[in-house]
Every structure is written in structure tokens, then in C-alpha cells.
Symmetry: C2
């Protein structure tokens, strides 16, 4: 049985930065070579970043991806790294870059994989299964491949696949089984969802069984716009044994020695659903010595997992967009307190500016709690009272009620944007998912900002995360970042005297239970009532979601709320004219 | 040869308002019956509106669509209208409403067509070709049908198809030809693009030739969110003769008498690409007398066509979202002047509020031009100086340069939103497509608003539209709505003394030529230079588009500029890290 030393490069790629991503590949191939790996695997679309979206449609971008790939192969060889087989995801095209009306297009842009060896691109594979649900729109951008590429490496047959190929039965894994390979390589850009790691291992095992082969599964890590990739790369033997597993949310080179069966078939051509192409790499790899010990990284708990995703997402958004620091309104409430703690974990306290912007309605405890958080975390704390600006509007316009409440939030928004323009910070928004769903926020007010770390987090989980983060600090002997009072006190927007969230909303535990059903799992009014929720409450909450959508229509043209970050693309329904129960 | 009297109901449907849409169908079936029509055709997704987007995923919404359809059939019969065959688009499902990872799903939501007759749904057809490009995302929502339904009506075989079925070769029209039908019905929700009417007639002729049959093509009319449907319904005989054509942008019942061949085939089952199902409607229609005269509506010129699209889009957005009036900043410049004229045409002068918000940098001619437009159009004109509010910020924060420029725009945004909250108007944004593309605007400033009538209009066409609208007024003996000075003067944002757009931007004619290539037709740097543009200019413009994307990242999370309204979904590329020419 030949042994292959396989290195999984679980790394962070940046959309559009082809040169930078190529440099990343170069550096990690060197690290893999230093560990005597025979093969090193990089994630899906490593060279271009993922998702490239409409960049796919630019011929110049496709050319850049293809050209950099060739250059990378040559550069690796030039630097003495041509003897390691490197698998790299990239963007290719064998037809026009923009797909149009012709649904039956057989050529066009490809979500592609290349095998680099000896200074050349020796094999290519085009992704077969294209996902077009949730956060994925790949039918819009890519043409599906129909040829499974098998490469004989050191006497072992290795089938090459990309991401969604492993999520669906049939296709490449089934064909790999018929073609009698020893190993299936799966390169991924698989976004984080809560508990997705609990799904991945059984999935990899199931598909390995379908292919009757070992599976090397490498995933991207890091934040890209609305997505966070959590890594969780792994190697599973043909019998289902977990041989190695990388940590979540960190860059890592996972090196594994795998004993694999010698190649036994040369059959090519038509395998029903796909074609099979084969080639043999003219290389014999020395048996690696000494063997590497197995790495099996521990899984994180739910709250730690979410916290890491939020921190990594924010850190990469700031870095990849060229910012150095962030600013936001620090009210003393739980939402901005949790955003502050995330920002300090992501960027360091010296790059985080929290601005207390009290009005005449702000309570003393709010100002105290904001100052307390600032002391605990060490962030740059400022106080900018808003009453003079609010009064300047009120003395000119005749406003009352909601218009006055919204005015205060908008003055704060203008203030934060002015600081952003003057000092270069990214503005963070601090509204949670529950508030966003029911529209309990002010357009162009507290909704101002380029990134909202908690927009996908229900209010009840915001509290849970605060408690988890404080407990983690205690465990490490550090100061708890979030004041207990911010966690314990009843939430209030403080836009009129004595206001409480419960004046306008049900208790958040009750609210979140209904919203989760309505938004996350598409339940209708009757489903929710059948699930035991009070009918009047359900009607009230659904009505709020409907009105929120209506309010958003006063916002930027075409803006829809999209809860995309954690793998589920749940647009709130446009139901201001559709009443549940009709 | 039997004669069929066919009525095409080119009507306006509203997403989500199933009961209202059913009532519309009822009313127009009655009108068709009064004209002794045998068959009346309604657009795609008539009952639910189009596009329903994520409403598709709600089982309760699918049920509502199905139930209302059955009820509609019964109600029509109850009111003596069961003897006319009504073809109605609706949402159906024969599987789970939410499509997920299983790309091979054979059951699920359907973009469906129903034939109502004698109080019942007698036939259904599921759309075969699902578009997933431009403004369409149908692979995300629907499962494709594979059975062509043919109905024998008064001895004529009629094949039933939906929208995209006519845009692609092969599929339903080819199968209809093999099945030897006399007429193909095509129901559509086909959004407006410039000159799309020039494409439609040859398309209908081409597909009619493929089916060797007459084609009855009915399209929706009216605005729905970012889309505008332009109608342009038509009937084309088997020999390619245009028998009847409806007007653009207006509701209309187009009634046509068609002599059609008697049915000649009974073959059902497998036709290669699709199955064929047949049924005979137990009805013989009396020959209609007297024959209806042919209607052939005249085509509009380009500028008139665009103007109509903008007016209809705004009017329906306001109405369908429950607003009664609109407010916006009236600066005296060309963009807000054109928006004002569109708004007055769409809503009437008494529902339009234009607010002049001069600062210390506003010129006298700007204030004069704004007042002049107000006098010419009769809109509700107000003056709200912003300097006191601007000063209230400046006396608290230390700001200079761009931060001060942006501050002025944001104070105006807060002012407009306060008026919106207090008085209930929809806020209109007035930035043109050229400005948006290069980011020549202020986030949360002049970008504030729920609807932007000219976001898809390049600056050079804004001027052209202004001239066309004034000329049209002269022709009708009316006052020209737009002051000549707003058209002729050099554009300026007036955010600092003596500022002109040309300080920051190339001349708009030069700029638009490059932007059109880069944004509308995906040309890269080298393509644009090869097309004769100055290389330095190209680099400068592309750099501006890149930076604009970067600036938008300071905006709401997940916000992307999407030029969707006119059929092309051109997201500006995220190129702040991809440099053309790499």
C-alpha cells in the first residue's frame, strides 16, 4: 500500500486579490514541502477568493485568474517547489464570461480546480454540482462540468472534486466509486452555519462510503463580506475513521499520512452521469519519515463558535476593505456592549472607538454603563451630547411623536458618519436580528453603518453571548468586558421619557420563539398557532414583520434585509399585502 | 376554419395581493365576455404578482394562491362567466415550497398557468424554461415542468406556455410544432428594457415559425418594486402577420378574431424533450359577429418610452406601497428637476413636495431655478435653510474637507426623513446612474430615499429626457416643466464655494461613454482602450468605480448597487482589490 502525505492548507483568501492569494498559495506550498508532503490542497476559488459574484462576468478577470495560475505553477517550480502536487481552486472559462438567456449553455465560466506540478498545470476539473439556494447563486455564474478527472499519484488514483459535489448524492463521488479510486479530494468554500461542523463529518463519511475511498476535505477560513468560512478541514479514511481534523476559524496546515490502495482500474469514458478522464503523474514520492502524529482539533461549544464567527467576520471585513479601526454608538445597552466586546476581540482596544451620544432622555445608568464598559475593555471612549443638534432641527421644523424619536437616532447617525469621514473609521451598526425583523430601529439612524456584527443574532442569543464572553474572561482570569448591568437591565431605546422595549414589543423570549418559526423555518400563521403560540401574539408579531418590510421601503431603493451571514439566505417576505391566514 | 375571438388582458398585478388580483381578473373577464371573446388571457403570475421572490417559500402563500384560483373559477361561473375560457398565471406547487440542496428536485413550486372554464380549473401547465440571468432568479424558486398541455378549444388545438418558454429555442414551441397545434398561448411578465419592443415582435414571429402556429402573446403592465412591465402584447398569425398589438405601459383589452386550422393530431406522450398531454374542452363557441377591427398601437420613440417607464414605475411604487405623496430635495439642478417632472406626471402636482434646502454655498441661481420649476409645475414648494443645523454639528465636532461637504448632504437627508415621518410622504432620491457608478454622492445624504426614479439613467440621458419632456409640453401647448437654466448650466453639488462636477469628474459625455462600456457591457480596461478611449481617462474612471464600491462598504451591510429596473441586473464589480490590466 503506497503512503501519501497529504497537507490540507486551510487558509484565508480575499475576493479580487489574485496576486495576494497566489502569494498565499506559494507560502503554504513551501510550508507543506518543509513537512515533506506529497500533495497540498487549497480551498475552492483560492486564487480569486469566493464568492466572486459579478466579477465572473468580466473577461479581464477570468484572464487574470488563468494567467496567474500558469505563472504560479512556473514560480513554484522556479523556487524548487515543483515536486509537490498542488491542488488549487480558481476561476476558468471555456466560453463567454457572461451567461445569458441560453440555459443550455455548455461552455462558459467554470468553478475550477487545477493540479500544479513540475511547473505546469497538469490537470483541471470543473465543478459538477452547482448550488443555487441559500447564499449560493452558482447557476447564475457557472456552467457545470461533466468530466471527473482522476490523477494517478504515486500509484494511487485520486479523484478531484469541488465543494457542492460532496453535498449531493450521485455525480462525482458515485462515479469515483465506479472508477475505483483510492482517494477523493474535496476543495471547499463552505460558509459557517451554527452546528454545520456537526453535519460535515457524517456527510464526508457518507460520501466516502459512496466512493468507497478516503476523502481529503479542505475548507476555506476567514470572513468575506457577508460570509464567514469556518475551516473544519478533515481527512476521513475509506472505512470512515477520522484521521485528522483542523481547528475552526484559524489558518492551519493539517498534515496526514494516508495508506491508500494501489490503482486498479484504467477504465475511462462514459460512466453514465459523467465522463471519466485519467492521467498519471510522472513522480514517485519517497515514503515520508518519520510519520506525522494525527491532529484532531477539539470542537468549540455553540456560543464560542458563534463568538468566533462574529469576531473573524468583523476582523476580515475591516482588514479586507482597507480600514484600520471602527466606531459605533455605545449606549450602555446590551447590543452595543456585545458589539464593543466583539470589536475589541477582533481589532484590539486601541482600534475601537465607542461614542456615547446622550440626549435629554438618556438615563444616568446608561451613561454609567457605557463608561464602565469603556474602562473594562480599554477602548477609545468619547461623549458627544446630541441635544444641541436635535434642538436645531426642532426649532425649524414642527415635529412630534415618532418623528422626534427618529430624529434623535438620525442625529447620532450623522455624528458617527462625520467621525468616520474625518478620522477614517468603519461605522458599525449594532441592531440585533430581532429588532431588524420587527423594524424596531430608525432608517438612517441606528441603522447607519458599513457592517453589523450582530445582524444575524437573535436578541436572546445576544444576552447568551454576553454571559458566555464574561464567563470565558473569568475563566482566563481576565476582567469581564461587559457590565453586569447592561445584561440585567430591561432594554430601552431611550428615545422618550421612561421608554422600554416592552412598550412596543413582546418579551424577547416570546418574540424570538415566534420569529424563529416565521423567519428561519418559513412557518405560516397556522403552523405557529398549531405549535402552541398564542394566536393574538402570532398575529401581532407577523403584523410587525410586515410593517417592518413596509418601513424599509422608505429606505434605499432595492434594499432588502438579507440574513445571509450564517448560511441561510432568508429574505423577509414582502407581505405588506399578503396576510397570513387568507 | 374555426374562428376564435381572443382577448388579451394586458393588466397590472400586485405582488402579494392575491384577493385584489383575483378581483382584477374577474373584472376583465367580464369585459372580455361583453366583447364576446371565447378566450381571455392574463399575464404570468397574474394571481400572485411577479416576482414573488421568497414568498414562494411559504407554504401558506402557495396554498393561498391555489385556493384563490379554485375560488375564482367558481365565482366566475357563479356570475355567468363560466362559458369563457380564462387563462391565468398563478403560483402552484406539487412538492415542498422551499427548494434546497437537492438540485435534481422533480417536485416543488411551479410557475404555473391554469385554464378556468365552467367553474373549474380544467387544465394546468408548468413553465418549462426557467430564466436565471439578469433580473431573474427562477432556478432558486421553481421546478421546471416537462409536460406541454394542449387544449382543444372550439376544434382548434391550443398549446399553453409561460414567458421564458418563448425566449429559448427548443422546448414548448418546438414540441407544439411537432404536435401540430393551431395556436400557442404565451403569458408573460416581461420587464421593460430600452428597445425591448424591437426585439419582441421578431422573437414572437421566429417562435411562431418554429411552432408553425399563430401566437397570442400577453404581457403584464405596470411597476413592481424595481421592475416595470411595458405591456406590448400582440397576436401574430402563423404566417408571421402582426394581427394585433397593444399599447405600451397602459392597461388594455386587445381583442382579435383569428381564423385557425382545425385540430389534426391526437398524438400524446413522449415528444423527446417534453411530454404532451391533450384535453378537449366541451364547448362550441358561436362565430362572433360583427368581427372586431384590428388594433395596432403605435410604438413610442426612445425618450418617450423611457419617460413612460419612469413615470409608471414611480406611480405604482407609491400606490402599491400605500403612500399618497412624495417629497425630495429640489436643488435647481438637472437631476432633481427631472425627478420633479416625473413625479408630477406620475402623481399630480398636489401630491408632490419639493424642498429647497440652501446652505451658505448655494448659489442664487439654484434657488431661483428651483422656485421657477415649482411655479411651472405647481408642486408644493418649501424652503428649509440648513445652515443652523450644519452649524450645530460644526460647533461640537472638529470637521473639515469632505466631512463638512458630506455633513451638509446628511442634514438634508435628516430633514427630508423628518418631513416623511411627520407628513407621510415617500422620500425620493435624485442621483443619476453616472453619479452612482462613480460614487459622486453622500451615503445617508443625497442617497436617502425609498425610491430613485432615475437611478438607471445615465446623466447624458437625464439631459436628453429633460429636453424631450419640454418639447412634448410645447407640442401640447403646455408650459415646459423644466427651466432652461437647469438644463443648460454646468452641474454642481454646491457643497463648497464655486464647486463644479468637472472639478472631480470628466465631462459627462466622456464619462458616460466609458461607464457604459464598463458597466453595461462588461468591457475591461484593455477593451475600452482598444475601443479608442484615452488610457489615462479609462484608468481614472475605472479607479473611481472601484473606489465607489469601497465607499459603499461604509453603507448598510450587504448593500450592493444593482441596476435592475431595466432588465439588466448589473452589479458593479467588487474590484477594490482587482485592478484591470493585471
Amino acid at each position: 500500500m503506497p503512503t501519501l502525505r497529504i497537507a490540507l492548507a486551510q487558509v484565508n483568501s480575499t475576493v479580487g486579490d489574485i496576486a495576494g492569494n497566489a502569494a498565499t498559495v506559494h507560502g503554504w506550498v513551501r510550508r507543506a514541502a518543509e513537512q515533506q508532503a506529497h500533495v497540498v490542497l487549497f480551498p475552492e476559488m483560492m486564487l480569486t477568493g469566493y464568492p466572486v459574484e459579478d466579477l465572473t462576468f468580466r473577461e479581464s478577470f477570468v484572464s487574470a485568474s488563468r494567467n496567474h495560475l500558469e505563472r504560479l505553477a512556473a514560480d513554484l517550480d522556479h523556487d524548487g517547489l515543483g515536486g509537490i502536487a498542488a491542488v488549487v481552486g480558481y476561476l476558468d472559462a471555456d466560453g463567454p464570461a457572461r451567461l445569458g438567456a441560453d440555459a443550455a449553455a455548455e461552455r462558459g465560466p467554470r468553478d475550477a480546480l487545477a493540479l500544479l506540478f513540475g511547473g505546469r498545470v497538469v490537470a483541471r476539473y470543473y465543478k459538477h454540482h452547482l448550488p443555487n439556494y441559500g447564499v449560493f447563486d452558482e447557476d447564475r455564474y457557472f456552467v457545470a462540468g461533466d468530466t471527473l478527472q482522476i490523477v494517478r499519484l504515486n500509484g494511487v488514483d485520486v479523484a478531484l472534486t469541488v465543494c457542492e459535489d460532496i453535498w449531493q448524492p450521485g455525480g462525482p463521488f458515485a462515479v469515483a466509486g465506479l472508477a475505483e479510486v483510492g482517494l477523493v479530494v474535496s476543495i471547499n468554500a463552505s460558509p459557517y452555519e451554527l452546528n454545520k461542523d456537526d453535519v460535515r463529518l457524517p456527510l464526508v463519511r457518507r460520501r466516502g462510503a459512496e466512493a468507497r475511498a478516503a476523502v481529503a476535505y479542505v475548507n476555506m477560513v476567514g470572513g468575506q463580506d457577508e460570509l464567514v468560512f469556518d475551516g473544519d478541514s478533515m481527512v476521513v479514511a475509506a472505512d470512515g475513521t477520522l484521521v485528522g481534523r483542523a481547528a475552526q476559524f484559524d489558518e492551519q496546515l493539517l498534515v496526514t499520512d494516508l495508506d491508500l490502495p494501489s490503482a486498479s482500474s484504467d477504465r475511462t469514458g462514459d460512466f453514465g452521469e459523467m465522463h471519466v478522464a485519467r492521467l498519471t503523474l510522472d513522480a514517485s514520492f519517497p515514503a515520508p519519515a518519520p510519520p506525522v502524529p494525527a491532529t484532531l482539533a477539539e470542537r468549540l461549544g455553540d456560543d464560542e463558535e458563534v463568538w468566533n464567527a462574529l469576531v473573524v467576520g468583523l476582523r476580515d471585513y475591516v482588514r479586507k476593505n482597507g480600514f484600520r479601526s471602527a466606531v459605533f454608538g455605545l449606549s450602555g445597552g446590551i447590543d452595543s456592549a456585545v458589539v464593543a466586546a466583539i470589536a475589541v476581540d477582533a481589532l484590539g482596544a486601541d482600534r475601537v472607538v465607542g461614542v456615547s451620544m446622550p440626549s435629554g432622555y438618556s438615563s444616568e445608568h446608561s451613561k454609567d454603563d457605557a463608561a464602565d464598559l469603556a474602562r473594562r475593555t480599554g477602548l477609545d471612549y468619547r461623549v458627544e451630547p446630541i441635544q444641541p443638534m436635535v434642538d436645531s432641527y426642532l426649532s425649524q421644523l414642527k415635529l412630534d411623536g415618532l418623528a422626534v424619536e427618529n430624529l434623535q437616532a438620525r442625529v447620532r447617525g450623522v455624528l458617527l458618519m462625520a467621525l468616520s469621514n474625518q478620522e477614517g473609521h468603519l461605522v458599525l451598526t449594532t441592531g440585533n436580528k430581532s429588532e431588524l425583523a420587527v423594524g424596531y430601529s430608525t432608517l438612517y439612524g441606528d441603522s447607519v453603518g458599513g457592517y453589523n456584527p450582530i445582524k444575524d443574532v437573535w436578541k436572546t442569543r445576544v444576552w447568551q453571548l454576553a454571559r458566555w464572553r464574561n464567563a470565558a474572561a473569568l475563566e482566563r482570569g481576565e476582567v469581564e468586558p461587559i457590565p453586569a448591568n447592561s445584561i440585567e437591565k430591561p432594554p430601552s431605546a431611550e428615545l422618550r421619557p421612561g421608554q422600554l422595549d416592552t412598550d412596543s414589543l413582546p418579551d424577547y423570549h416570546v418574540l424570538d420563539a415566534v420569529l424563529t418559526g416565521y423567519v428561519d423555518t418559513d412557518q405560516g400563521r397556522d403552523d405557529l398557532v398549531a405549535a402552541g403560540h398564542d394566536p393574538q401574539l402570532v398575529d401581532r408579531v407577523l403584523r410587525m414583520v410586515d410593517v417592518a418590510e413596509y418601513k424599509r421601503r422608505q429606505s434605499a431603493p432595492g434594499t432588502k434585509i438579507s440574513f445571509k451571514a450564517f448560511g441561510r439566505d432568508r429574505r423577509l417576505p414582502i407581505t405588506n399585502r399578503f396576510r397570513e391566514g387568507v
